[in-house]
Amino acid sequence: MTAIDKKLEKAMRENHRKNKQKLSRGDIAFNIINYAVFVLITLACIFPFYYLFINTISDNELVRLGQIQLYPRGIHFENYVQVLKIPGIIDALFVSIARTVLGTIWTVGGCAFLGYLCTKQEMWLRKVWYRLIIITMYFSAGLIPWYMNLRMLGFLDNFWVYVIPGLVSPYNVILVKTFIEALPPSLEESATLDGAGYTKLFVSIIMPLITPILATLCIFSAVGQWNSFTDTMMLMPSGKNYTLQFLLYKYQNEASSLAALVRNTQDSSSLANVATKQTALSVRMTVAMVVTLPILCVYPFFQRYFVKGIMIGAVKG
């Protein structure tokens, strides 16, 4: 637990105690309004997820008529079964997972090691190289040069374009560097006496100590990879390596033809049932839900890490 956490907790506890002592009428009114506003804001943030979810599990005919508003009716899971049968969606899922896992490992590993190297005062022209890396944060060549460059390097229609260009991310390098600089240098010195080289030092001494920041970077990188779809749109002209997010984006425009496709693959018995028949709307919503679910599933677990991570960033900045 970081010092900030402790402070935060202490402050909260103290506040709590203070407020319990005496509550004026104005305080009570303030509290009521305050709580109410936050409940409303939170509801506004949750409701779209809930609304989408009840629409995907409800009777499709009712959904088409706009009858499902606040609670599900005629619950069935046929939509999910059928959507997972859409050709290409399993492959897209696989590509999404692969890019998220590989891209995250690659970026975080690269930035961690680079951040470590940047802390080494004895490096030849260290400041020059470090500035050269950091300065790329502030300018970009623009869309067309970026696209042409990747094309020239042979990254068009290539899965590795999701992974390899992300090796160095200046912001992450800064975070790791600041974090390592705060560690006591004596740790490394003793291992150096044992004859360990830089790589050995990094792997067995530095890495275990910087896991909090690495966890944060992992989360940001993984979410970024999972959510990105414009790169697929621009860099995969021949339809290879589509990701789930991009399919979602594509389906928003062509959901009606998709629904017909899904209906064709369905057998006749389930087709007769209006309630479970796929409509453009139902397919669109179900795909969206399929894309959201992984994030919803892992979100509670990583939530505490990014709060910590952004605090590290904030304290630094």
Partner: protein, 850 residues
């Protein structure tokens, strides 16, 4: 092993993946719908294991029996994997090691099986396509993961074979056994007499081919005999028939048969594998040599042998029609033996024994027995030799064009060798590579053939002398390094060669009359420059006992610098497009240079100007709305801080940050459902209130009305809670004594918020405000891209989206140069804004925001 459940998880994934479709079958329309109906849609690995070739309709299509569906390696691999997982749970001595060995075995078997099976792709004489899906690789991946996991889990296990000598001996023996295996037949070719016209041909074709004979390239004999005739198996009947000789212009590959012997890649892989394995065996037996060397050699050899073996096993690949016997094999005239697979497995085990030896060795860190001094010299010498080779290789391409024509008329490629042998002048003045030598007609008075020849000859002469000198200097430097004389002299010579190289390049590319011919350096030239630099770099340290730490660190940094260069700095080269009339697919030399045309066009051309003004208005409008409300996260944080119930606070925080983690594509899906004109909850609500006519519902989402406000609403919905986290962190950092003191002075809640919390958040707010001002032009495009449609395009198009719309999205009529010009201006304005914001920040607060 401490934790064992991951083993079961891996096993479960592998077994589940067996039943998922591993490959799709696509039948060519030529075969007709009836034949196509015989084939299943997809095959799973389990189909292959359980039914083998009969997973395909062999009864109806007899030619299918030719296929080797490798069921045995797959089956054995799965069994090995299950055994490995089971042994992992036993608590007896050596079981962890056994589990590791089994996992390695299963990885090798599954790898061989999967590859062999999947490389049938494009087979069946190009009529049935088997296309692999990702699931096919899952069991293999699981086996590899299992092997790695068991290796990691071995950390605390008791070593079984602590004796290093024993492991060395085992490793060497296995390597030698693998080498001997290469002498045994890898596959047997048997061609019946009835197929060929001449029975002697058939008997000459019958043979057994070992990996050893592949290395020696003995197949050339077969090539000569099979050159004129060939056999061909019809897909439907399975009959073998005589084929016509291959003709270069035939575009129907089916039915065309050619036997070529160009399996150099396979031969080289096998040869390298043999050498490495031998090396590994020898080194393993010498106790003085560090364990890492036999291990490295053995592992590399094993990988190469596996590659070669897989290539032998996967006879089906059409691109890999590399040798006559493999082609015959593919036609079913012969069988594969399991020997190559066994050899590969033995090599893998040899490497594994080496790895165990390293693992149980006493020394903690890798100690290289070759002194670093020698290594440094070796690196310097090899770099210089490589640079020399690059210089002698073809390095200047000269393209001849007719004046005012972009089409290249002729090209001449010059190499360092040409220069040294004084042939450069001839070749440049009289491009022999040209199909049509008369590049310049009589009518091009200005560019008469004689004038062009004179100009190019002059350039070529310069080029010749310079190249000569550069080569000579490099050679001299090499001699100096080899003789171990003055290293300063060597560095000077190398740097001089480098300078000369650059001059040569300039001479060749700028000395030519530009409208007629342009020269460009190719890869070799670019390669020789860094090689020379690094040769000089290493020469500098060749006298030292070891490379100084500062340079060692720099070398570690180098790959990252290279990545930054490739992906961040190299695109800047693309800015040059803005000064050309860029056309896709034409080399940069041939593009039309237009100067600042695109920049002036932005403001002088009325249509363009209107567009730019409109797009800028949208950009500033929407960024401005966000800027104006950038205080909202701060207020959110301040009020959230007033909530005393920790649980409620956490709850709010968790759910208000959730929208930040979903993509804009998803946000648009939400918008589509909530605001659908007829069914969305928002429309229904408005109908029930009476603000919306049910018969003619308002189109909320697609209309162009209030689009800025709507976009602001969505970005606030997505970013409000997330933005507040930063402020909450800052609030946590406020000194609590300030509050105490204020309370003692009788300050109430509002006073505390106004006079303590808010002022202490202002610095953070100020920094973020400055950053968002400098980012006013970069408001991204994802959000606007997903929400844009023909109706709202006029008011939603921001700068980035506009650039995308007129280029990549527009297809044929892309305005690349114009878009690049816009991009350049945008970057320049952004950087200026950033520096001014930084300047203001320094003036006001004395702190830099960068």
């Amino acid at each position: 092993m401490k934790k064992k459940w991951p083993v079961l998880l891996i096993l479960a994934v592998a077994v589940a993946a067996l039943f998922l479709p591993a490959a799709g079958l696509h039948v060519h329309a030529q075969l007709g719908a009836e034949t196509a109906a015989l084939f299943p849609d997809s095959l799973s690995l389990w189909d292959v294991i359980s039914r083998g070739a009969s997973a395909l309709p062999v009864d109806q299509v007899p030619a299918l029996s030719v296929l080797h569906l490798g069921r045995l390696p797959l089956l054995l691999g799965m069994i090995a994997m299950i055994c490995s997982a089971l042994t992992a749970f036993l608590r007896r001595k050596g079981m962890a090691q056994l589990s590791l060995i089994l996992a390695c075995l299963s990885a090798a078997l599954l790898g061989a099986g999967t590859m062999q099976w999947l490389n049938i792709e494009d087979s069946l004489l190009f009529t049935v396509l088997i296309s692999a899906k990702a699931w096919a690789y899952v069991p293999l991946a699981a086996a590899v993961v299992l092997a790695v996991y068991s290796l990691v889990a071995l950390k605390g296990a008791e070593p079984v074979l602590t004796d290093d000598k024993k492991l060395r001996l085992i490793s060497a023996c296995l390597a030698v056994a693998a080498l001997l295996m290469m002498l045994l037949p890898a596959y047997v070719i048997s061609v019946p007499d009835t197929i060929t016209a001449n029975p002697a041909d058939a008997s000459a074709m019958n043979r057994s081919v070992s990996q050893y004979s592949l290395i020696l390239g003995k197949e050339s004999n077969l090539y000569e005999q099979g050159q004129e005739k060939g056999v061909y198996a019809d897909i439907l009947t399975g009959d073998l028939a005589q084929l016509e000789p291959y003709s270069a212009d035939a575009n129907n590959i089916r039915g065309v048969f050619v036997i070529r012997n160009n399996n150099t890649a396979l031969n080289a892989a096998l040869l390298a594998a043999a050498i490495l394995l031998l090396l590994s065996a020898v080194l393993a037996l010498i106790p003085r040599v560090d364990r890492w060397f036999p291990l490295a050699a053995g592992a590399l050899g094993a990988v190469l042998l596996c590659t070669g073996t897989l290539s032998i096993l996967s006879v089906g690949d059409a691109d890999m029609y590399s040798s006559a016997s493999r082609q015959l094999l593919h036609l079913g005239l012969g069988t594969i033996t399991p020997i190559p697979l066994l050899a590969a497995l033995l090599a893998v085990f040899s490497a594994a024994a080496g790895a165990l030896g390293v693992k149980y060795a006493n020394e903690p860190y890798f100690v290289n027995p070759v002194p670093e001094k020698l290594r440094l010299r070796f690196v310097a010498i090899s770099l210089a030799v490589l640079a020399l080779a690059c210089m002698a290789a073809p390095n200047i391409t000269v393209s001849f064009t007719k004046p005012n024509k972009t089409k290249v008329q002729a090209t001449a490629t010059l190499s360092g060798v040409d220069a040294v042998t004084f042939r450069a002048a001839d070749r440049l003045a009289n491009p022999t590579d040209s199909k049509d030598k008369a590049v310049y007609g009589e009518d091009d008075a200005e560019y008469s053939a004689a004038a062009v020849n004179a100009a190019t000859a002059k350039t070529a002469k310069t080029f010749t002398w310079l190249t000569w000198l550069a080569l000579g200097l490099t050679l001299a430097a090499l001699a100096v390094i080899l003789l171990n004389r003055s290293r300063k002299l060597a560095i000077l010579l190398l740097l001089a060669a480098l300078a000369l190289r650059l001059v040569t390049w300039l001479a060749a590319s700028s000395g030519l009359p530009r409208a007629v011919a342009t020269g460009s350096g190719t890869l070799y030239l670019y390669a020789s420059l860094p090689l020379l630099i690094f040769a000089a770099f290493f020469t500098n340290f060749s006298h030292m006992e070891q490379l100084p730490k500062k340079y060692k660190l720099f070398l570690m940094m180098l790959p990252f610098l290279l990545a930054v260069f490739l992906f961040s700095y190299l695109p800047l080269y693309g800015w040059s497009y803005a000064f050309y009339n860029y056309k896709f697919g034409v080399s940069m030399d041939q593009q039309e240079f237009v100067g600042l045309k695109w920049f002036t066009e932005m403001f002088t051309n009325a249509a363009n100007r209107d567009n730019i003004v409109r797009v800028l208005k949208n950009t500033f409008g929407m960024s401005g709305l966000n800027l104006l409300t950038s205080w909202m996260p701060m207020i959110f944080a301040v009020f959230l801080n007033e909530i005393t119930r920790t649980k409620f606070k956490k709850f709010v925080q968790i759910f208000t940050t959730l929208p930040n983690f979903i993509s804009w594509a998803l946000v648009f899906s939400f918008a589509m459902c909530l605001f659908a004109a007829d069914t969305g909850i928002f429309s229904k609500f408005m109908m029930s209130v009476g603000l919306n006519d049910p018969a003619n519902p308002t189109v909320w989402l697609n209309s162009s009305q209030h689009i800025w406000l709507k976009m602001w609403g969505w970005s606030t919905w997505k970013g409000l809670g997330w933005g507040a986290i930063m402020y909450l962190a800052a609030i946590a950092g406020i000194d609590q004594e300030l509050y105490e003191a204020a309370r003692v002075d009788g300050a109430n809640r509002w006073a505390l918020m106004r006079h303590i919390t808010l002022p202490s958040l202002l610095p953070t707010f100020f920094v973020l405000l400055m950053l968002s001002i400098s980012n006013i032009l970069n408001n991204g495009m994802e959000q606007y891209l997903v929400f844009q449609n023909p109706m709202n395009r006029q008011t939603i198009e921001v700068l980035d989206l506009y650039v995308y719309n007129i280029t990549i999205a527009s297809g044929g009529t892309a305005l690349y140069s114009y878009a690049t010009a816009i991009g350049i201006l945008k970057t320049l304005v952004s950087v200026t804004l950033l520096f001014s914001a930084n300047f203001i920040s320094k003036k006001l607060r004395g702190e830099s925001i960068m």
